[in-house]
Amino acid sequence: MAAVRRWRPWALVVLLVLLAVLPWGVSAYIVGVLTVAYYFAVYAMSWDLLFGFAGEVNFGPTFLIGLGAYAASLLDIHRWPVPLCVLVGAAAAVVGGAALAVPALRLRGPYFGLVTLVAVLVLQQVIVIFAGITGGEIGLSVPDVLAVDANPNYWYALAFMVASGGILVTLSRSPVGLILQASGQDATETAALGFNVAKHKVAAFCVSAFFSGLSGAMVVFYEGTVSVGSVIDLALGVQVIIAAVLGGRRTIYGAALGAIFLILANELLRPLGQLNTFVVAAVALIVILFFPNGFMGILGRAGERS
C-alpha cells in the first residue's frame, strides 16, 4: 500500500501532462468528446460529495446544473461578460439549491431524494411555461462562446475539471470532509460529538450546487446553446448518478473516471447503432451489481494485491 501511495502523485502528474498534450495526438472528434466528458465529470464529482460524503442521495443534479446553465444564458443574451455570466450561474445554483436543501434536509428517509427529483420536473415546467424568455422546449442560442477552436475549448474544460476536482478532493479530505462522512454515516452520533449535522449537510449541498452550476454554465459557452434536453432532462441526471456510482462512491476521483468512461463509451460504441446505449447500460449495471465500490474499488483491490 505504501508503495502505491508513493507513486500516486507522480502518476497523477504524468496523467495530467498526457491529457494536456492529447489534442496534438488524437482527432478533433475525440477532443470534442473529451471536452464534454470533462464538464460531465464535474457534475459527477459534485454529486459524489453529496452522496459519498454527506450520505444524501440527490436525484436532481440537473436541477442545479440547469439553474446554472439557464441563468448564465439569460444574462449572456443581455450582453453580460461571459466570466460574470458563469459566476452568476453558479451563484443561482447555490441559491436555488439552498432554498431546496434547507427545508428538504429536515425530512428523513427517502423524502430528501424525492424532493430533489420533483424539483427537476418543476424547473423543466417553468422553462417550458416561460418560453418567451427561456426559449421553451427549443432552447436558446447564446451570442458568446469560450473559444472557436476545439483545442482551446479542450484545455478550458481540462483546466476546469482539474481545478474543481482538486478543490473537491481537498475538501473531502479536510476535517470538514471527515465531519461530513460521520454525519452521513450516523447523524445522531455525530451530533452527540457536538457537530451541527444540518449545517454541514447544507454546506455540502451548496458546494455541490456551486460546482454543478458552474459546470452547467461553462457547458453553455462551449456548446453555444442551451436546452432542457441538454442540461435539465432527468435522463442526464440519471447518467450523472450512474457515472459517480460506476466510478466508485466516496472517492471524487472515481466520479470523474466514471463520467469520462460513460461519455467515451457512448461515443466509441456509436457504430453499434441502437445497441450502443444498451451495451453501456449493461456494463454499468454489471459493475454496480458486482463491484459496488466501482472502478476505484477494483483498482484499490488490485493495488492491495500487488
Binding site: P175, V176, L178
Partner: protein, 487 residues
C-alpha cells in the same frame, strides 16, 4: 454544591405510550449513578432526553444549573455532555487515530486543516484507553472490545463534564469488563458525573455509587446497589412475587416426539458473540420458556430458528434440517414468530391485520380461526375496525399474537410479549396464554425477561445468560436454583 446533572420531573410520551413519567434524579461531579431497569422501562429514553436525541414533553434537564431540555443534540454536547453508545459505527475508511481526531475537531466549516495539537491529543487518548498499539489500523480489523474502547476514546476527546454510558459491558468478556470498569472509574476520579445505563444491578454494582431502578417509565427504587437489590419492588419486577407454576408431567411430554431441536447453535454479530453453542429441545405440544435479560441472546436464538440470521450448528424441525431454507419457507412450514417489535401494519385496521395473517389458509378455516381468536381476545372484536396504530400497547400485543395464530402455526414463537406493558395488561395476556395452552395442542416457545410471566405456563425453562444456556429444568425449581443469579 449543586449537582452537575439535575433531571427534574421529565416526561416523554410517544403517542399514547408514556415512556418516561415525571422522572427526577441528579448526579454529582465525581459520582457514578447506575440507571437500571428491564427492557422497555424507559431508561434508554431517559438517556436520550438528556442528550437531546429526544425532546421531553415536560420537565427540566439542568446542566450545571442551566436548563438544556429540548435543545439540539450538538448544543447539549457542546455544553459538556458526552455519550458512549453501545453500538459503534466508526468511519471505516479512516484509521482509529483519525476516528479519534474527528471527535477533537471544532464544529466549523472553515477549518480545512486540523491543528497540530489535535494529532498529539488523539495519540494520547488512544494510549490512555489501550488503543496505542492499533491506532493506525482501520476499525474493521479490530476485535469487538477495541471498538468499544474507540467509542470511549471519542467520548473522552470531548472532555465532557457529564458522561452517559449505554450498557458498558454488553458483549465483553469478564477480563474486558474489568478493564472497562477501570476506565469508567477513571471518569469518576477526574471529577466527571457518570450515568451508567444497564439492565440489572449485578452488572454495575461494583462500580456505582448509587442506583436508580426504573420500571414502566417511573422510578421504583433508589439507593446503594445493595439497598436496591433488597428492595421488594425491584425484586417483584425482576423475579416476580410468589411464582405459581403449572408444569405438566415431564414423563408425558418426553414421550411425545421432538418438534424442534436446536443443537450447538452459535451466532456472531460482526465480532460480538450473540449466541454460543446453544442447545434446546421443544416437544410436540410443549410450552417452553427461555428466560434471560435483554441482550442475553433470546431474539437472536429465535431469529436463527426463523432463518433470519446466519448461524453455526444444527436446527432440526419435525425431523428435517432447517439449514438453507428461506425465512418464508420456514414460516410456511409452521414456525411462526411473533416478534418483539410486533411488526403490525399500523395504518391497517385490526381486521385487515388479522386477514393478512390468514392469507394462506382456506377461506372457511380462516373464518373459523377468526371467530375463535375473537373469543380468545374479545377486545380485538370490539376494535376490529380501528387502525392498529391507535391501539394501546397491550392491545397491540394481543393483535400481534392473534395475527400469528391466524397463520395456524405448529410452533408459535413469542418474543418478549410483555415488553413495556403495565401489570394489569400482563394479567390479561397471561390468562389468554393459559386458555390457549389448555384448549389447544399448540406448541409454544416463549422468550421473556419477566420471570413472573414466563414461568406459570411453562413446562420447561431454559435460562440464557451472556449468549449461553446456563440453566435448564423444571420451572418449580427455578426460583431456588437459578433465581439468585438473575437480579
Amino acid at each position: 454544591m449543586s449537582p452537575l446533572l439535575d433531571v427534574q420531573r421529565v416526561t416523554k410520551r410517544f403517542g399514547g405510550l408514556v415512556a418516561v413519567k415525571e422522572l427526577s434524579f441528579h448526579v454529582e461531579a465525581g459520582e457514578i449513578l447506575g440507571l437500571i431497569g428491564p427492557n422497555g422501562s424507559g431508561k434508554s429514553t431517559a438517556m436520550k432526553l438528556i442528550m437531546g436525541i429526544e425532546r421531553p414533553n415536560s420537565g427540566r434537564v439542568l446542566l450545571g444549573g442551566q436548563d438544556v431540555a429540548g435543545q439540539a443534540t450538538h448544543r447539549i454536547a457542546r455544553q459538556g455532555v458526552g455519550i458512549v453508545f453501545q453500538h459503534s459505527r466508526p468511519l471505516h475508511r479512516q484509521t482509529v487515530l483519525e476516528n479519534i481526531k474527528l471527535a477533537l475537531l471544532p464544529d466549523s466549516l472553515l477549518r480545512l486543516a486540523a491543528d497540530k495539537s489535535v494529532n498529539d491529543r488523539a495519540c494520547a487518548i488512544a494510549e490512555s484507553v489501550g488503543l496505542g498499539a492499533v491506532m493506525h489500523r482501520r476499525p474493521n480489523t479490530l476485535p469487538f472490545a477495541d471498538l468499544r474502547r474507540l467509542e470511549l476514546a471519542k467520548a473522552i476527546a470531548r472532555d465532557p463534564k457529564v458522561v452517559l454510558v449505554d450498557e458498558p459491558f454488553a458483549g465483553l468478556t469478564a477480563a474486558e469488563v474489568g478493564i472497562f470498569s477501570g476506565l469508567i472509574d477513571g471518569f469518576r476520579r477526574e471529577g466527571r458525573a457518570v450515568l451508567l445505563v444497564d439492565h440489572n444491578v449485578k452488572g454495575v454494582a461494583a462500580l456505582v455509587d448509587r442506583v436508580l431502578a426504573m420500571y414502566l417509565g417511573e422510578r421504583i427504587a433508589e439507593g446503594s446497589a445493595e439497598e436496591v437489590m433488597r428492595d421488594p419492588t425491584v425484586r417483584a419486577v425482576y423475579l416476580g412475587g410468589s411464582i405459581e407454576t403449572h408444569a405438566r408431567d415431564a414423563a408425558v411430554i418426553d414421550a411425545t416426539p421432538v418438534l424442534l431441536e436446536v443443537a450447538d447453535v452459535s451466532v456472531l454479530y460482526g465480532k460480538a458473540q450473540a449466541l454460543e453453542r446453544v442447545s434446546l429441545r421443544v416437544h410436540e405440544g410443549e410450552f417452553v420458556s427461555v428466560v434471560g435479560l435483554n441482550g442475553a441472546g433470546k431474539t437472536t436464538l429465535f431469529n436463527a430458528i426463523s432463518g433470519l440470521v446466519r448461524y453455526d450448528g444444527r436446527i432440526e424441525w419435525a425431523g428435517g434440517s432447517l439449514a438453507g431454507r428461506s425465512p418464508a419457507a420456514i414460516a410456511r412450514g409452521g414456525i411462526v414468530q411473533c416478534a418483539e417489535t410486533r411488526e403490525l401494519f399500523g395504518d391497517m385496521s385490526v381486521r385487515e391485520n388479522l386477514d393478512l395473517g390468514g392469507q394462506h389458509q382456506p377461506p372457511a378455516e380462516s373464518r373459523d380461526r377468526l371467530a375463535w381468536l375473537f373469543e380468545l381476545f374479545p377486545i380485538l372484536k370490539e376494535r376490529a375496525r380501528q387502525a392498529a396504530r391507535t391501539l394501546s400497547g397491550g392491545e397491540q400485543q394481543m393483535l400481534a399474537i392473534a395475527r400469528a395464530l391466524m397463520m395456524n402455526p405448529r410452533l408459535l414463537i413469542l418474543d418478549e410479549p410483555t415488553l413495556g406493558l403495565a401489570p394489569v395488561i400482563l394479567e390479561q395476556l397471561s390468562k389468554a396464554l393459559e386458555r390457549l395452552r389448555r384448549t389447544t395442542a399448540i406448541t409454544v416457545l416463549l422468550g421473556e425477561q419477566n420471570v413472573t410471566f414466563a414461568l406459570p405456563h411453562a413446562d420447561r425453562v431454559y435460562v440464557l445468560e451472556h449468549a449461553r444456556i446456563v440453566w435448564q429444568g423444571d420451572p418449580a425449581l427455578f426460583a431456588k436454583e437459578a433465581g439468585a443469579g438473575y437480579l
